[in-house]
Symmetry: C2
Subunit: 207 residues, 2 copies
DNA sequence: TCTCCTTTCGTCACCTTGTGTCAGTCACCG
DNA sequence: CGGTGACTGACACAAGGTGACGAAAGGAGA
């Protein structure tokens, strides 16, 4: 399709992005002050100055408002070159995750941090996020199987373990009030290293 | 509290269990023939012969109907002795998972298999399941921190990796049409072994 | 500038999930 | 046998989410 990345863009699309961002920021504020569950979609729409119906044209669900870069991440994962083995596949997923975190920090900054904190605090939202990741994990497993000749279990495990490290890093980081945006990539690096140590077959019992 | 396990039980509790099981089996049938989304709670209630309101007295949500042993599993995890280190904690979670699978197979048999297949096929339900697991994972991390003196990231990782292995095993097993109930414990054992091999620091790149 | 097409938006109507409430029923216990 | 507490059905209601239709506004061409 037409891929005019970083172009001045349409006036329509520009206004759409503005409205989208305005909804996110307004919702974020309402969620913090009133709580996620007690804030209705109608509250958000009214505060932004749009109709309830229009809100759902921007976001499929109330939870989606907080899943800022999720769609981009999914697309990047789907487009990634996984190489021809499980280890190259794992490395590819980790690389994309790293780039994703850096881009989110660069492009969205505090907005990203705030959404992550709210996600960690709100089971309904983390469940929605997981549903996304689960869908891509199944698709990833299929692609790994096609290119890396291995069994389904190993392929699924590689994907799940990679996602587990990413989720854990974000989770622990977002629950730490003193952590800054700059700390996140380092936390994720530690998560990858530690996950390898924790399941080390030498340290773990053989059976 | 009163723990009359395996006792003849009250007439009321007996009827309650019967109704609950009837709801599960009826819903399972409707979900398979009509699809999860297109089946309304009212359809299920009507088919069982209870009111819509009563349905919600048995199950908090429509998804909960498929989460048969989840509550027992959570309780078992919460009550487990995690030892005094991350490795004993990991071992404890794995033991409980194994016992849980065996008990589900023994007590529920095909019902369990059918629910797992539907869960794997239905994003909304796996999201609900994840929400449960996420809640217990946070509580587990706290308990590991209290007993094993380590950092938050390592503790969270241990829990997430353990859950990832369990989920992957069930996921892959439930998507295999030729797999039988007896295959599940073996699949889970392979998942634990493989997860240790896949993240082996010797095979993986140091950085 | 005028016209035509496309996208977007607001309004209205509707369905489904989930909760609160109230009154009636029934098993159990004294 | 009468009281207590749990379970149930019926009703009302809030909130999330979808479909349909007409109006308004942006964008392209004459």
């Amino acid at each position: 399709m037409n891929e005019n990345r970083n172009a001045p863009a349409d006036l329509r699309t520009r206004r759409r992005n503005e409205t989208s961002r305005e909804v996110i920021e307004t919702a974020l504020e309402l969620f913090r002050t009133t709580g996620f569950a007690r804030t209705t979609v109608d509250d958000i729409a009214r505060a932004v100055g749009i109709s309830e119906r229009t809100f759902f044209r921007y976001f499929r669900t109330k939870e989606d408002v907080l899943l800022v870069g999720a769609e981009d991440f999914d697309r990047a994962v789907e487009a990634a070159d996984l190489g021809d083995s499980l280890s190259t596949g794992l490395r590819a997923i980790e690389l994309i995750s790293t780039e994703h975190l850096e881009r989110m920090i660069r492009d969205h900054g505090d907005l990203f941090a705030q959404t992550q904190r709210l996600i960690a605090a709100e089971p309904a939202v983390s469940a929605a996020l997981f549903a996304r990741q689960h869908a891509t994990s199944v698709s990833l497993r299929r692609r790994l199987l096609a290119s890396a000749d291995t069994d389904e279990l190993a392929a699924q495990l590689v994907v799940e373990l990679a996602y587990a490290a990413l989720r854990s890093a974000i989770e622990v980081w977002s629950r730490d009030p003193s952590a800054t945006l700059a700390d996140l990539p380092a936390t994720y690096r530690r998560a990858r290293e530690q996950s390898r140590v924790l399941l080390d077959p030498v340290a773990g019992a053989p059976s």
